[in-house]
């Protein structure tokens, strides 16, 4: 059923009896043209674009738990395309454009809210780096503004401008950046894909990848073998685990990132704000909770939860940046397992195994990439060639040295 104000009004009168499942909870078939492992944002978006753009509908998304149970359902919902390096900007900007039309494309309100993303800077060197980044964005046709201290103060008068340990000098603002209702992205893509014939299979964990003579034949799952000519991984924090089923060792480590939400509050802060002298970023959800986060915990983990020192660091920086938060309360904290790559940038590529594809290395920034990545990955899977916006996101770049290291931290996954 199409969603609209009218359908809501009609259903309200009928006691909401006419609504049906947003997506089909499918039983797995014995064989597909392609299966996507992972019912997160990337997997579901890939399925949607495979069906919509490439007419591939005999496909399935295999999810070991419920769809959206991974990082797409536990991230801080920030979308932006304010990247520095030419390897990254095109994909994130493609994604940004897709976000801007997503609701009408999917007929699903994912609450894409372009309230702006403001990255604060606290030193001259940081401002220079932001200028470099802003100019790189503009060269790519992406909007960006460098704000001085006064302009930041006008926008966010509640930040500490008088007594800060690291005084705010200005900020890089991307007005088109903002937040998106995370769960709705998974649900909306699932609905879109399902409507086009894609099987969304929940509670179906891939336990093996069957390969013969260097060619993929299908996947073993907790619900039996499923044959497929093409197998596409989109399992985020589980990438190493799934890739190892095909004998692959990758430049990826799994790390935990925590996120937090406060009790609900009347509107307090405008868009997304990031603190430049540490690791802290914050926005406010439509429900009124301050949604915020910080740095990763920093050690390999599959536990989906973190430790206390990061909780404290995050709160300290919250207080340092926004002294008004003192009496507000943290309500809940949680963690997600991310596929940290060795240069901090993602990989969308073929693998050495014919028919096996890789989408990984999103670190803590892959939510914003979901539409763009889904579209580019679908393109790769369908055509066998990288999408023009993702030509640099290759697996062999570590070997050739064409790294995409936004932070210049080198080959240590936990520093990106």
């Amino acid at each position: 059923m199409r969603f609209s104000f009218l359908s809501i009004a009609r259903e309200a009168l009928r006691g909401n009896r006419g609504w049906t499942p947003h997506w089909r909870d499918a039983e797995p078939k014995a064989a597909y043209d392609a299966v996507i492992i992972g019912g997160g944002g990337h997997g579901l978006a890939t399925a949607y674009y495979l069906a919509k753009n490439h007419g591939l509908t005999n496909i399935a998304v295999l999810e070991k738990s419920w769809i959206g149970s991974g990082n797409v359902g536990r991230n801080t919902t920030i979308v932006r395309s304010n990247y520095l390096l030419p390897g990254n900007i095109p994909l994130y900007e493609l994604s940004m454009k897709l976000w801007e039309g997503l609701e009408r494309d999917l007929n699903y309100n994912a609450m894409v809210s372009q309230r702006g993303v403001l990255n604060l800077c606290h030193t001259d060197a940081q401002r220079d780096a932001f200028a470099r980044r802003g100019n790189a964005m503009r060269l790519h046709g992406v909007e960006a503004e460098l704000l001085d201290r006064k302009a930041v103060q006008r926008m966010c008068p509640f930040l500490d401008f008088d007594n800060a340990r690291f005084p705010i000098q200005g900020g890089l603002l991307q007005r088109r950046g903002g937040t998106v209702r995370h769960d709705a992205v998974a649900w909306g893509y699932a609905r879109g894909a399902s409507d086009r014939g894609v099987d969304i299979v929940q509670n179906c964990a891939v336990t093996g990848i069957r390969i013969a003579n260097g060619v993929v034949e299908g996947v073993e799952t907790t619900r039996g073998f499923i044959a497929a000519k093409k197998v596409a991984m989109a399992v985020a924090g589980s990438t190493s685990q799934v890739a190892s089923m095909a004998g692959l060792r990758l430049p990826i480590e799994s790390h935990v990132l925590q996120a937090f939400v406060s009790e609900g509050l009347k509107p307090l802060i405008p868009g997304v704000i990031t603190f430049g002298a540490g690791h802290f970023y914050i926005s406010q959800s439509d429900k009124g909770g301050l949604v915020f986060g910080g740095d990763i915990d920093g050690y390999n983990s599959y536990a989906q939860r973190g430790n206390l020192h990061v909780v404290e660091d995050v709160a300290e920086e919250a207080m340092g940046l926004m002294p008004m938060t003192g009496r507000l309360r943290m309500l809940r904290s949680w963690g997600g397992i991310m596929d940290m790559s060795m240069d901090g940038s993602p990989i969308i590529d073929r693998t050495p195994i014919d028919g096996l594809f890789l989408n990984a290395g999103w670190c803590y920034g892959g939510f914003k990439a979901i539409p763009g990545s889904g579209l580019a990955y679908a393109h790769l899977i369908a055509k066998g060639e990288p999408h023009p916006a993702a030509t640099a996101l290759r697996l062999d770049r570590f070997r050739t040295g064409h790294l995409i290291d936004e932070k210049g931290q080198g080959a240590q996954a936990n520093l990106h």
């Binding site: 100019n135 909306g188 509050l265 009124g288 009496r327």
Partner: protein
């Protein structure tokens, strides 16, 4: 003074001699010491305390504890205003101010309540289905409206005047919860000699005992609890922490706890924080957090006046408050009947007891006395506009109506196990208890006791607590003797599950705070959100400030029924820390404002201040940025004067922030050869050399000089920013990569105060202090030790400025004195202190790279230092630096830049385009990294990276700068602007 119309004449644990006055929504009221805000409001007949989240329905007090979903207030005022505080946990104090929230203009007349009319159009998830057109309306119209309506309380918007602190504690046994189970667990462990910490979030120990009329060892239970508390406090190895909630369980036996030090006071006493955040490291722990009573889902179950049965007992027995004048009660279990007895004992009119079960044992039934009893019955709908007035009861004989102004409800009890699952365990469903019990995989060292462990009677709780206290002490290495158990009257807790009343006709709430109704759940299931976690996210069940403590189990039981699955199979949503919401301030402690992070001061900080320095935050350091002099209008005047003074006379600058590492051992030379890309093993004693360090991936990590002081003693300097990182790196190289080398390291960054003395008069200045420092004694790149009035002073002949220059180092305690001494020695020589800004100007004039160029993305070749990479040896980064992309001749390389128009100022961060080239990423040739005004050249100059830079000297290019108006035509030049021949360093 009125004691409040609902206050009972006698009894309770309140101090009637101590009346406290407080204000609610501007009205002055009175309560007693020992009250909570909720009990005081109820005593005064304030049944409506706030408005609900979505439908703005009037809401009252539902519980008597931290699980409260409804009675949220804004507590205190002004900068201390604190939103969403649960009235049921706010201890009353004289002068307390509170206001209801989420209503406008007033609690009684709330415009927002019109949202109720939207009725079933505003069902779960409706916003996913609409507000999509037109696109721009989301941010401008729909979303702001949604946001304004949502959110509940208002933040103060200004800085919190109170302080917070953090602390650590260590113990053998941590007991969480001081009810009967916790008290006896703590006592048993304490008597064994183990170090015990007992935390309870309440201000009185005893837990449920304070709410009941039961007896232990023949005394009222609350008296027994107080006696145990006294005994515990007398034990030197036991620490009792009241008002302290354990809020999180973390790895390795680390528990987070929040102590509310001064929340019960108008203002914190001198020297004390408002709250203290504890990190408790415990060998073992006993979780004795009790159980939370759950409501039953029926129509109008959110009306003010509907209250949990256990809470009614708490208000009656502990606070001496009657919940209403005509009270009914509705339950599915034996325990709740105690409420009936207590009501009668308190002289409150008990109008009816409604139990969903067909049979109730006679001795239980006797508790209702002569009150009307309806079995196999249920409250279908509660009625009333602004609070409960009557009930519709579904009985086997049909619907009957009953007048009542209060209804006590009990759907059974849920063990409080949140903390036991923070590390990931899943609670397991028990049919017998009709509740989730502890997970199979408990956190290491943690045991669960009492009602939290499904031991629902006092006697069971005591026995279980004693046993678990002993186990915990034993596990921590002590021997606990079994203590005789106190006698407790055993109550029955038999329960027959009832989640929802099918006969209800009006809105029945599952999650009160988030306004999630029974029909929302049904809709959600219809729309395919059948996983318990999907249901939660689609309906927001359990996501409010109470985290669903009164709603989750009902919700998932209803989900189980709707999907035809069992409750065990349906499972519960995951509990997460913090167990109680925790203020940011408490988590931050002293780290706020200027003290967010520690500040490091250089040894000559005071001298610099006395010279009028403007300081700048440089990472952890505060450094002198420049020294304004009278008559200088802008920072540029000062900086230019300082830089010029270095070129014409002599300047001094504190460079103590550079990292300094002492290296000892026979193999230091060989070691340095491996960690630097250039060669050090050939360095003679008494000399120093510039070194470049790569990461193993072939990019540049750091640079600096290393001097050889004696055969086996060397000292390395690192950049300020990378000091700690290089130390880690060298220790890794020494301990892990090449343990066979004889190398030992000591960080001496803090030990040496180091000053650069730069300029043509540097030598003359130093000779006044040290005697002969001529080229014969201290040649270029020499390292010498001098005696400076009995103090060993290290002198290094290095230059960052290109002028004749030295760096002198003395033990840091003499740093401030040395700065004064240098100024004295420079008198008549034009000595000028210079700051980091002039330092930057001088190094840019000389084409020296620094932080902006060493950005982790550049190679030695990019920096024009490719020749330093030795071909004769292995070193960290050698192999990866040879990857094709790192030796691509098209990589941007270091060059100098100046504006074609000498009056113009380029800006760092600009990119380079060929003149006339379209503005596309493909045409991007590099970027400008550092810019300064050169007093030597009287123009702005810069360094940057541009494709094939060194080959293109003389070419004009465009600095593309949309960020800061630095879009200009530039000329590429050599990176060394001043004295390219390098003669001045010897001059």
């Amino acid at each position: 003074m009125s004691v409040g119309p609902y206050r009972l004449p006698t009894g309770g644990a309140i101090d009637r001699a101590q009346a406290l006055s407080f204000r609610f929504d501007g009205t002055s009221l009175t309560g007693f010491a020992g009250d909570t805000l909720a009990s005081a409001l109820l005593a005064n007949g304030h049944r409506v305390v706030g408005r609900s989240f979505k439908y703005h329905r009037p809401r009252g007090v539902l519980t008597a504890g931290p699980e409260e979903p409804n009675a949220l207030v804004e507590l205190r005022s002004g900068a201390r205003r604190e939103p969403n505080t649960k009235a049921t946990t706010a201890e009353l104090f004289d002068g307390l101010e509170a206001a209801s929230q989420n209503r406008w203009p007033s609690l009684r007349f709330d415009i927002g309540a019109a949202a109720r009319l939207a009725g079933s159009a505003a069902s779960a998830g409706f916003y996913y289905k609409t507000f999509m057109w037109p696109a721009a309306f989301w941010e401008k119209v729909y979303e702001p409206a949604i946001r304004r309506a949502a959110g509940l309380g208002r933040a103060s918007g200004v800085e919190d005047p109170d302080t917070y602190e953090k602390a650590f504690a260590f113990c053998d046994v941590l007991v969480i919860g001081g009810g009967p189970a916790g008290l006896i667990a703590a006592l048993t462990a304490g008597r064994s000699g183990a170090r015990v910490i007992l935390c309870d979030e309440d201000f009185v120990l005893g837990g449920r005992l304070n709410a009941e009329r039961t007896e232990i060892d023949g005394q009222p239970a609350a008296i027994w609890a107080a006696a145990i508390a006294t005994e515990l406090e007398a034990l030197p190895n036991v620490r009792v922490m009241r008002r302290t909630a354990v809020v999180g369980v973390y790895d390795g036996g680390t528990y987070a706890a929040l102590e509310r030090v001064a929340d019960h006071l108008l203002e914190p006493p001198f020297g004390q924080p408002r709250q203290r955040f504890w990190r408790i490291v415990a060998k073992t722990a006993v979780l004795a957090t009790g159980a939370v009573e759950r409501p039953i889902v029926f129509g109008g179950n959110d009306k003010p006046g509907v209250m949990m049965a256990g809470a009614v007992r708490t208000y009656l027995n502990r606070f001496s408050v009657a919940p209403g004048r005509r009270v009914a009660f509705f339950a599915n279990n034996d325990d709740a009947w105690t409420t009936a007895a207590d009501l009668r004992a308190a002289g409150v009119d008990l109008v009816a007891v409604i139990d969903s079960r067909a049979e109730v044992a006679d001795h239980i039934r006797a508790k209702a006395g002569n009150a009307r009893v309806e079995l196999s019955a249920a409250v279908a709908d509660a009625k009333g506009g602004y609070g409960l007035t009557s009930l519709q009861i579904a009985t086997p004989k049909g619907r009957i109506a009953l007048d009542a102004d209060a209804l006590a409800v009990s759907g059974g009890w849920n063990p409080q196990l949140g903390l036991a699952t923070h590390l990931g365990g899943k609670p397991q469903w028990s049919e017998r208890h009709a509740a989730f019990l502890l997970p199979a995989d408990l956190p290491a060292g943690l045991t669960v006791a009492g009602a939290a462990n499904g031991m629902m009677t006092t006697a069971e709780a005591l026995a279980d607590g004693a046993a678990k206290g002993a186990t915990a002490a034993d596990a921590a290495g002590f021997t606990a003797a079994p203590a005789p158990l106190p006698r407790a009257s055993d109550e029955s807790f038999a329960v027959a599950p009832l989640w929802q009343v099918a006969a209800s006709r009006t809105k029945a709430f599952v999650d009160f705070q988030n306004d999630v109704t029974a029909s929302d759940l049904a809709l959600s299931v219809r729309e395919g959100f059948t996983s318990v976690e999907h249901l939660k996210r689609y309906t927001t069940l359990g996501m409010a400030t109470d985290q669903g403590r009164t709603s989750n189990v009902n919700g998932l039981a209803m989900l189980a029924a709707l999907t035809g699955r069992g409750i065990a199979e349906t499972g519960a949503t995951r509990a997460r820390p913090p167990e109680r919401p925790v203020a940011f301030g408490a988590l931050a402690g002293l780290h706020r404002g200027k003290h967010l992070k520690p500040t490091r001061l250089t040894p000559s900080h005071r001298w610099a201040a006395s010279e009028g320095a403007v300081f700048i935050e440089a990472g952890p350091w505060l450094r002198a940025q420049w020294y304004p002099r009278p008559g200088e209008k802008t920072w540029l005047d000062s900086v230019s004067r300082e830089a010029a003074a270095v070129r014409s006379a002599v300047g001094i600058c504190d460079v103590s922030t550079l990292g300094k590492i002492a290296l000892f051992g026979r193999d230091v030379g060989a070691f340095l050869d491996r960690v630097y890309c250039n060669t050090f093993s050939t360095l003679p004693v008494g000399k120093l050399r510039y070194g470049l360090m790569l990461r193993e991936d072939g990019f540049v990590m750091d640079d600096g000089t290393t001097a050889r002081l004696s055969e086996n003693e060397w000292v390395m300097s690192t950049t300020t920013a990378n000091a700690a990182k290089v130390m880690h790196h060298l220790e890794l190289a020494r301990q892990v990569l090449w343990p066979q080398l004889d190398v030992r390291l000591a960080s001496v960054t803090e030990q040496w105060a180091q000053f650069a003395i730069a300029g043509p008069n540097a030598r003359a200045l130093l000779e006044r202090l040290l005697g002969d420092v001529s080229d014969e004694v201290v040649p270029y790149l020499a390292a010498r030790i001098f005696d400076l009035g009995g103090i060993p002073a290290r002198l290094f002949r290095v230059s960052f400025s290109g002028e004749r220059a030295y760096e002198i180092a003395v033990p840091a305690q003499y740093g401030d004195a040395l700065a004064h001494e240098l100024m004295w020695a420079g008198e008549g020589l034009g000595v000028t202190p210079y700051g980091t800004e002039a330092l930057g100007v001088l190094r840019i004039e000389k084409g020296h790279v620094a932080g902006n160029e060493l950005n982790g993305q550049t190679t030695a070749r990019d920096l024009g230092l490719g020749k330093m990479m030795s071909a004769k040896k292995d070193y960290i980064g050698r192999v990866m630096a040879a990857r094709p992309a790192l030796i691509d001749p098209d990589r941007p390389m270091l060059a100098g830049f100046r504006a074609v128009d000498p009056t113009k100022r380029p800006r760092a961060g600009a990119h380079f385009l060929k003149i006339g080239a379209p503005e596309t990423p493909e045409n991007d040739e590099g970027y400008l990294t550092s810019v300064a005004f050169s007093p030597a050249l009287n123009r702005w100059i810069g360094l940057g990276f541009i494709k094939r830079g060194p080959e293109r000297v003389g070419e004009r290019i465009r600095a593309y700068d949309r960020m800061q108006g630095g879009d200009l035509e530039l000329e590429i030049c050599a990176p060394v602007f001043v004295d390219p021949e390098g003669t001045r360093v010897h001059g």
